[in-house]
């Protein structure tokens, strides 16, 4: 047991926990995107899906608590590792050239911070309805919460659209390096699959960002309307 707890406290152990918590969050983000795409099937489907989720309050709150603990774990470890990493090079280079480190990999802390701020905004906006008084839950004809109508009203506003698109760019940048890096941290490396592992990050990032932005733009351009 001492061995295992020592391992979790070390730098590699911290990275493994970060990778696992990150992959858990990526899984949620993919499901979230797929669920939201049901907006293209019309109001009854999306509102029915939302009602289906709300009909299981215990499961819903377990998922919410799980997500919150994953986020907290991920952020705390990120801060701890970043502080350690910054301390490891007290004097910076005067001339610095990167040969193959991707832009995404060099900006993980910045894109992560951007992402955290966006998620906070997103929760206050569409989940709690604090930011936009228009974004409150009304009821549709079937007596379900009108999530469809809420989304359609919210993305009429160009400022909200810009904020969401910027947030998605931050998400894409973060995931681009995150997924592939997590697989490497978990020691997944096998000659025949390495190109798949390398492609995993950019692919997941692209699909999630496209899926989300399509919803926002479809509403803004009037393709999906109330």
């Amino acid at each position: 047991m001492t061995r295992l707890s020592n391992h979790v406290r070390s730098s590699v152990g911290g990275k493994v926990v970060m990778a696992l918590s990150g992959l858990g969050l990526v899984f949620y983000v993919v499901i979230h995107m797929l669920g939201n795409l049901q907006i293209f099937e019309g109001a009854p489907t999306l509102n029915g899906y939302a009602a289906f989720l709300r009909d299981m309050p215990i499961l819903l709150w377990i998922v919410r608590a799980g997500l919150l603990s994953l986020v907290v774990l991920h952020i705390v470890l990120a801060i701890r590792l970043t502080v350690r990493n910054r301390r490891a090079r007290p004097v910076a280079y005067a001339a610095r050239k990167y040969r193959q480190a991707s832009f995404a990999s060099r900006t993980m802390a910045v894109s992560g911070l951007l992402l955290a701020l966006f998620i906070l905004f997103h929760l206050l906006h569409l989940t709690a309805g604090v930011i936009d008084p228009l974004a409150i839950d009304r009821l549709d004809v079937e007596g379900h919460r009108d999530v469809y109508g809420k989304i359609v009203r919210a993305f009429q506003n160009p400022f909200i659209v810009v904020l969401y698109v910027v947030g998605q760019v931050g998400l894409g940048l973060h995931l681009n390096h995150a997924v592939t890096s997590s697989l490497q941290t978990l020691g997944l490396e096998y000659a025949a699959f390495n190109h798949l592992f390398k492609a995993a990050g950019p692919t997941v990032a692209l699909l999630v960002v496209l899926g989300n932005i399509v919803i926002v733009l479809a509403v803004f351009l009037g393709i999906v309307h109330g």
Partner: protein
Amino acid sequence: MRFTLNIWRQQGPNEQGRFVTYEARDVSPGMSFLEMLDSVNQGLIASGEEPVAFEQDCREGICGSCSLVINGIPHGPDRGITTCQLYMRRFSDRAVITIEPWRARAFPIIKDLVVDRRALDRIMQAGGYVSVNTGGAVDGNVLLIGKDRAETAMDAASCIGCGACVAACKNASAMLFVAAKVSHLALLPQGKPERTRRVSVMLEAMDQEGFGSCGNQSECEAVCPKNISVRFIAMLNREYLRAGVVESGLPAEPESPHAEST
């Protein structure tokens, strides 16, 4: 050829360092980078100034002594070579060249471009070895090792411990170095007895020396004079996860590697 050199000068470990500009004149394109520095130093000695301190030894790319960050890249603009294998014909005439030491908390500067890389030795002392018993030597061909496995182990073993991976890493992490050493021995039957303990204590030593952690940017791989792949870092992570769950047998308390060396 002639060059303008911006060289980091620092009198001692606790002194304030700064860049000083020197002119290198009459440089032959066939000179190695270190020979060019030699000729600059000859000029400095002749004019009564203190020559620039830099590390060098074999000058054929196998000792891992030379250690210069040239225009922002450890071992300079070419891949798969050490500084001593870099020739001045690689630079354009009248170029400005910035020369800095490896920069990492774990590599304190001793003087000018010379840094103390004993942190890597202490990581090796912690577990980068195999125990060889006394007695009659075992016949070399008794222990069979598959060709592929031997080649992979050799790829890892080609690490010369220069520390370019640390110098290039955004986090000044020694992961590629530790990965090469751990993978090399984990792949071979001779390394099996200490396999579980080795990875744990070497990574523990790396953390204690003040190196950062790996960000999987693969910048280390791109500057490694021996082209060691970051795939070995994945292998190191795998070894570490394995060690976390596998019992090593007797719960022996390993002596601290830092107690020995001080």
